[in-house]
């Protein structure tokens, strides 16, 4: 989705100035220190979609781990060395299956499982995605290149409170015998938001 609903490009300077002003005020009023802000930014920047893919690929190959991940994500993340910072909102993992396909959005702002997969893509924060996906999720899926049969339930999850939703995509057919490392390459940022499926092994070979 190319259009953002509003042009960040033209307003980049305005938003940058506004962020600086807010940062200065937060520090001046003693809400937090510059160190707190830098630490949080570093924590988010330390994570990327590859981290999420690694965790979710492990869930594909280890059914017992998958159960623990779906029941208590924070503890399961920790098993693989991912310690959620205290400041992170709760994260829960939702599994996509043959019956149900979930997609995540934050219609209020840009809530995202940052502590595991880093910053959201620009389109995730844009008005176009946020307003369309709740009304026409299958249309959004189509824009991202996926058409789902009506027999599959599409379930939009709007994260508006204390939980962030990380989607565990369905493991594609024809991936038996692949290593965990190879499988992780099939798990894209889009598939962890639910706007697409995990890549097929053929798609990875072709790229």
């Amino acid at each position: 989705m190319a259009e953002n609903g509003h042009s960040h490009g033209d307003n980049a300077k305005y938003y940058s100035l506004r962020a600086q002003a807010m940062q200065a005020l937060l520090i001046e009023k003693g809400v937090c220190t510059l160190g707190d802000i830098l630490t949080m930014a570093d924590q988010i920047d330390a994570r990327s979609p590859e981290d999420g893919a690694k965790i979710l690929a492990h869930a594909w190959v280890d059914p017992e781990y998958k159960k623990r991940l779906l029941a208590d994500a924070a503890s399961a993340f920790l098993e693989l060395g991912y310690d959620l910072p205290e400041t992170s909102p709760k994260i829960t993992v939702v599994e996509n299956t043959d019956e149900v396909h979930s997609m995540a959005v934050c219609t209020l702002c840009s809530c995202f499982p940052r502590a595991i997969i880093g910053r959201p893509p620009a389109w995730y924060k844009g008005l176009a995605y946020r307003s369309k996906v709740v009304v026409d999720p299958r249309g959004v899926l189509k824009e991202f290149g996926t058409e789902l049969d009506d027999a599959i339930q599409v379930r939009v999850i709007d994260s508006s409170a204390d939980y962030r939703y990380l989607i565990l995509p369905k493991r594609p057919a024809g991936t038996e015998g692949m290593t965990e490392e190879q499988l992780a390459k099939l798990i894209t940022q889009e598939s962890m938001i639910g706007v697409g499926l995990a890549l097929s092994p053929e798609a990875v070979k072709a790229s």
Binding site: V135, R138, V154, V156, D162
Partner: protein, 98 residues
């Protein structure tokens, strides 16, 4: 999250989302207001963001629920399948019994 034995609703309960657009901060978008949904998950209680937004402590904590709606109940002329749903977290002060 604090221990929560005070949650008024249980998983499976039908609820109606309260209607209201306060001039202050709130997390319940208008597109679900007045709609009927079902409790899918009970998350426990969390400090109320309607207070936190103004530097208050957000107490008493509000029980938080993941509520599921039929898409055809939310949007007239919904284009997808009739079984499609939408889930969203809603604090208890926005829920009414039906």
């Amino acid at each position: 999250m604090t221990a929560n034995n005070t949650a008024k609703f249980r998983v499976g309960d039908q609820v109606r989302i309260r209607v209201g657009v306060p001039p202050t901060h709130f997390r319940t978008p208008e597109y679900i207001q007045g709609k009927l949904g079902r409790v899918q998950t009970s998350w426990g209680a969390f400090p109320n963001p309607e207070g936190l937004a103004y530097g208050e402590d957000g107490l008493p904590a509000q029980p938080l629920y993941l509520i599921e709606f039929a898409q055809t109940d939310l949007w007239r002329g919904y284009k997808g399948a009739t079984r499609d749903t939408l889930m969203i977290d809603v604090y208890e002060n926005w829920l009414e019994t039906t």
